[in-house]
């Protein structure tokens, strides 16, 4: 991964991300956003990240695409702990514990 495509992604993502952050602070001043735009923006993170993770949890590249109980259970534990504790760190800890516990059991 090098050369022109790499730098195009870095520069493009850098400028694009800056413009997203600068949008209302910088250019549109203090005019409020229309409610329908705000409604969509509120759901961007929850719309992208679960879809990004789902194939990695079901078909991990590390196991050659074979479904791995450790990774799948760790993903489910992370979500469950996150909903239950409402804490990012609690969710991370639960996922890590389950991942290593099941990987460890499998290695016995």
């Amino acid at each position: 991964m090098s050369g022109l495509p790499f730098w195009t992604v870095i520069v493009g993502l850098g400028i694009g991300t800056f413009l997203i952050r600068f949008s209302f602070l910088g250019l549109l001043g203090q005019r409020p956003l229309p409610p329908w735009v705000l409604r969509h923006l509120r759901y961007t993170a929850v719309a992208v990240l679960p879809g990004l993770v789902a194939p990695l949890a079901l078909w991990p590249t590390a196991t050659g695409g074979q479904t791995d109980p450790a990774r799948l259970l760790a993903a489910l534990a992370t979500v469950a702990a996150g909903i239950w504790t409402r804490s990012v760190l609690g969710a991370m800890a639960a996922g890590a514990v389950v991942l290593y516990a099941v990987l460890g059991l499998g290695a016995l």
Binding site: V9, L13, L28, R39, Y43, T44, A81, R86
Partner: protein, 231 residues
Amino acid sequence: MSSSTSPLARGIRDGLPFLVALTPFGLLFGVAAAEAGLGLGKALAFSVAVIAGASQFTALSMMRDGAPVLIVLATALAVNLRMAMYSASLAPHLGGLPLWQRALAAYCLVDATYAASIAVYEREPGWTLRDKLAYFAGVCLPVCPTWFLLTVMGAMLGRSVPDWMALDFAVPICFLAMVAPGLRTLAHLLAALTSVALALLLAWMPYSSGLLVAALAAMAVGAETDRRMAG
């Protein structure tokens, strides 16, 4: 919350707890960048130019899959769209600053700096523009430079991390941990389920473009559910 503490000092103090979550995430990005074959310089350039972990991971993993530049950019930028909402919500507080200060604040506008600032601005209606800027700068001070430092440290650790640590799965866990605490409303739940279902169903689409379709559909589902529940 003694009123004798300056807004700058309060900002620094409120920024520090975010380092606990930032540390594994930043180290992981450095490690992932090294494993993808990026050198120290490129890994650091990535973090300095973009300074948004989730989109950096997204772009990195899609580039490893050989996705075309435009698809990588569109998907990684979609991850950052939520920051337009941050920008809009801070505009009434920081919109009065000179242009260069607004540009600098925009560059440092990440999840941590937004979450801390908006909470305090709403609790401290008496703060002047200067106080608000000082607080925002205070939160940035521990958070933003640490992100760069962690990238470098992770990139140096790089390939020395053994396979049994299953680091490939640390990033999925981080992403799920970021999203799960927010799954409190029906709209958030339905958006997340749509995203998962469509991403799996459309996994056959070339170059991860199925993810982009899944994300746009999930966003619409979340917004529409929100509208119906509210109306």
